[in-house]
């Protein structure tokens, strides 16, 4: 029976867009490949894994190491074939497109092997800075505590490399995720409102303002509406010393899922 099926598969091959893998590592690398990978991910994966790789009913992809394997080849096979017996379906795409998706998926997390480690930083000092002088906690949550304007940092140690954290602190505007786009608007009555965009359509824009209120605005009734590429997060280059930034890196690297597992349950 199995042979018959294989034969059928062979005969069908020339006309099907199957994704027999011909590479061990990802051959895609250009900006265009990345953009296309992102587009395909949005269509095929985003609904379950979230555009940030961190929300949704699929597994969390914003992590440094995967249960089903970290190598390019292992991940290709997983994305193509899915995980039988689970909701992870697999995709029917050409080989190059799957590599492009993987190129995008890799940005969720640090490259496997590179680890988020304390370096020269002091974890305790970093923790103090996070809630104290740095006022990071005003905008970020860790566990149950914190503000809602920025992304959750409870698993920062699995989501970022030290370099990504440094960059986020020094040049926050360089890479602002869709979900945290900044909006600045002036209402008909002259009120100035600043916040992050939750949703937008032809008529309305929905934001979380600086005071964390969820608000809706009729776009046609605004005096002005800007969505600058800046981040609501301040650039910390002038606010913190280099050593302090290293303390924060050290602290954030310790925030991992396994840390939580010892918690309330």
């Amino acid at each position: 029976m199995r042979n018959l099926l294989n034969l059928a598969a062979l005969l069908a091959l020339p006309v099907l867009l199957t994704a027999a893998r011909t590479h061990e590592t990802n051959p895609m690398s250009s900006a265009e490949d990345f953009a296309e990978g992102r587009r395909l991910y949005r269509i095929h994966c985003g609904v379950c894994h979230g555009m940030d790789g961190n929300t949704g009913r699929g597994a969390r992809l914003a992590r440094r190491s995967y249960r089903h394997g970290d190598s390019d080849a292992e991940m290709f096979d997983l994305i193509e074939g899915g995980v039988p017996g689970t909701d992870m379906p697999g995709v029917w795409l050409e080989e190059d497109d799957i590599w492009r998706i993987l190129l995008f998926v890799r940005t969720f997390a640090a490259k496997a092997g590179e680890s988020c480690v304390a370096g020269q930083g002091d974890v305790a000092a970093g923790e103090r800075l996070f809630s104290g002088q740095g006022s990071c906690l005003a905008c970020h949550t860790v566990g149950p505590a914190g503000g809602r304007l920025g992304p959750d940092m409870s698993f920062a140690g699995e989501m970022f490399t030290p370099d990504q954290i440094r960059r986020a602190l020094l040049e926050p505007a360089a890479d602002v995720a869709d979900r945290y786009r900044t909006v600045r608007l002036v209402t008909a009555g002259g009120e100035r409102v600043e916040g992050v965009v939750l949703n937008e359509n032809s008529y309305r824009i929905y934001i979380m303002d600086r005071a964390e209120n969820l608000r809706a605005f009729d776009k046609g009734k605004l005096q002005s509406l800007e969505t600058p590429t800046e981040s609501l997060m301040p650039a910390y280059g002038n606010l913190l010393t280099e050593a302090q930034i290293e303390h924060l890196v050290a602290y954030l690297c310790t925030l991992r899922e396994d840390r939580r597992e010892g918690g309330t349950e």
Partner: protein, 532 residues
């Protein structure tokens, strides 16, 4: 002027610079729905009335009611949610495990939470969820993998999750939780899988368990002797509808599901407490104050998971705290909710299993109506004279509105063996031979005498609940895809729309930006209606 939209937050923020984000308080929950604009509890209030004081939409203008917005998702499951609305934001669950915050004015999405669910969930009747509870800036949900979870109402972020029990044994959570004081309460579904049902209360802040009440008593507990042998271990008695609550008596009224196995009672001789009962639990401790069993030793799958409607009314010349409920077994019951005393029971659909109800509230059974190997036809159907869909009670008309199901099923009995996580049914029911005689009706009753006041016939029995409003209207959904408004005084149909999918949810109403809207889930969509 009542500002309740996100703009209201803006307005108040302008007035006093330090305005706190508006959170749902315990007082709001107690007031609801007397305040009107919001809808903060599955039933629209603790008393289970599903009645709103909003009256912008009324008998005179309802004919111009029109679709305001729709929300669609890729839903292949039954969409059974009753939304909550607070300050212009609507919160819904979408099966199997998603939660959305929507702009109540336009239906646009503000955030989504998706639960990561195991792939082999065990649920008899669809991967459904009926909604949320809210307190402060937190939402609470019972999940199909048998957890209670708390989410941040502003971001959808998971704040805590506490496991009820291992879902793979057949347990799940499907009903909208109930918040009482600083606790959130949830019971487990799974009555078709030989579970042992229970109700848990959790600390809203931490998710820590405060108490548990087993709906099937164990060794040494009251009622253990109502289960032969070890049958209590697999007795079922699930919970899958939100209870009612009396803040003065501080009692929570839970309707409990069928005993297991459903159609073969031989392995569980006895009354099988607290299956098919209402149990009144003290809110702080979960201690049982009283119980009343509608169908002792049930063999027809007649869960008592219908809404417990709490009324303060005169009965035989004395003002009393009452509980009225139209039960799946075909009778409307009137109880004293302070003591559990049985006051009366009246048949409200055709039924052939009982000769009547005796003085003490026990059914007098008609012989030969138990399921058998050859099958026996019994009225009402296995879905009962009514089911989980909400009734409504209007203080204006004083009438109780019930979605009634007429018809019969063929009931079979067979052998069964308990295997964890698999069906524990004791055979089957069959509807095909009898379905031609099925029909439905929205009926208005006097809740005290149970006298029928009016009837609005439906082509098929409905799975949709009812909503009553101060505008003199009763909203109803149908299985053939209509959503309609009836005159609450006469039952006359005043408005209808084809929503293009079966309505299997109970409607609700709210006010946003000065306009009343009525919302209902149907097919794979949620619809909101308003006047032009």
């Amino acid at each position: 002027m009542r500002l309740r939209t996100p703009f209201a937050i803006l307005a108040s923020a302008l007035l006093c610079a330090a305005a706190l984000p508006a959170e749902v308080t315990l007082q709001d929950l107690l007031d609801d729905p007397r305040v009107g604009a919001d809808w903060l509890n599955y039933h629209g209030g603790y008393a289970g009335h599903r009645h709103s004081l909003l009256d912008q939409i009324d008998r005179s203008n309802v004919e111009s009611l029109r679709l305001e917005w729709a929300f669609q998702e890729r839903i292949s499951e039954k969409f059974e949610v009753t939304p909550l609305v607070h300050e212009g934001i609507m919160y819904i669950t979408v099966p199997p495990g998603d939660v959305y915050a929507l702009d109540a004015e336009t239906g646009a999405r503000l955030w989504r939470y998706s639960r990561r669910l195991p792939s082999k969930l065990i649920a008899c009747c669809g991967l459904v969820n009926r909604g949320l509870a809210i307190l402060g800036d937190r939402l609470f949900m019972a999940t199909l993998d048998a957890y209670t979870i708390a989410l941040d109402s502003k971001t959808g972020r998971l704040l805590w999750e506490t496991q009820l029990i291992d879902y793979s044994l057949g347990y799940s959570g499907t009903h909208a939780p109930l918040v009482v004081k600083d606790m959130v309460m949830v019971g487990t579904a799974g009555g078709e899988y030989g579970i042992r049902g229970f109700i848990d209360a959790f600390d809203v802040e931490t998710g820590e368990r405060r108490w548990r009440f087993y709906t099937v008593p164990g060794p040494g507990e009251f009622g253990r002797e109502t289960w032969a042998g070890d049958s209590w271990k697999t007795g079922g008695a699930s919970i899958w509808i939100t209870p009612s609550y009396d803040p003065e008596l501080d009692l929570v009224y839970w309707g409990v599901g069928n005993p297991g196995p459903d159609w073969n009672g031989d392995v569980r001789l006895g009354d099988n407490l607290f299956s098919d009962s209402v149990v009144a639990l003290e809110a702080d401790t979960g201690t049982r104050r009283w119980h009343f069993q509608f169908t002792p030793h049930d063999v027809h799958d007649w869960d008592a998971t219908q809404v417990m409607v709490l009324l303060d009314k005169e009965y035989r010349g004395v003002e009393r705290k009452l509980l009225v409920t139209a039960n799946r077994n075909g009778f409307i019951y009137l109880l004293d909710r302070q003591t559990g005393e049985f006051l009366r029971a009246t048949q409200f659909v055709k039924q052939t299993w009982a000769v009547g109800i005796s003085e003490d509230g026990r059914p007098i059974r008609r012989p030969g109506m138990e399921p058998s190997a050859e099958g026996i036809e019994v009225f009402p159907t296995v879905a009962g004279g009514t089911n989980w869909m909400s009734p409504a009670y209007s203080p204006d008309t004083g009438m109780l509105y019930v979605s009634c199901r007429e018809g019969s099923s063929m009931y079979y009995k067979g052998d069964t063996e308990y295997r964890p996580g698999t069906r524990y049914w004791g055979s089957m029911f069959v509807n095909e031979p009898t379905m031609h005689n099925w029909w439905g009706a929205v009926r208005a009753f006097d809740p005290i005498s149970a006298d029928l006041i009016w009837e609005h016939k439906l082509f098929q029995p409905a799975w949709a609940g009812l909503l009553s409003t101060a505008g003199g209207l009763v909203f109803a959904g149908t299985s053939d895809g209509f959503f309609k408004a009836l005159d609450s005084g006469s039952g006359e149909e005043l408005w209808r729309i084809n929503v293009g999918g079966t309505v299997q949810a109970s409607p609700m109403t709210f006010e946003v930006a000065g306009r009343q809207m009525v919302a209902v889930a149907a097919g794979g969509s949620l619809f909101a209606f308003a006047l032009p």
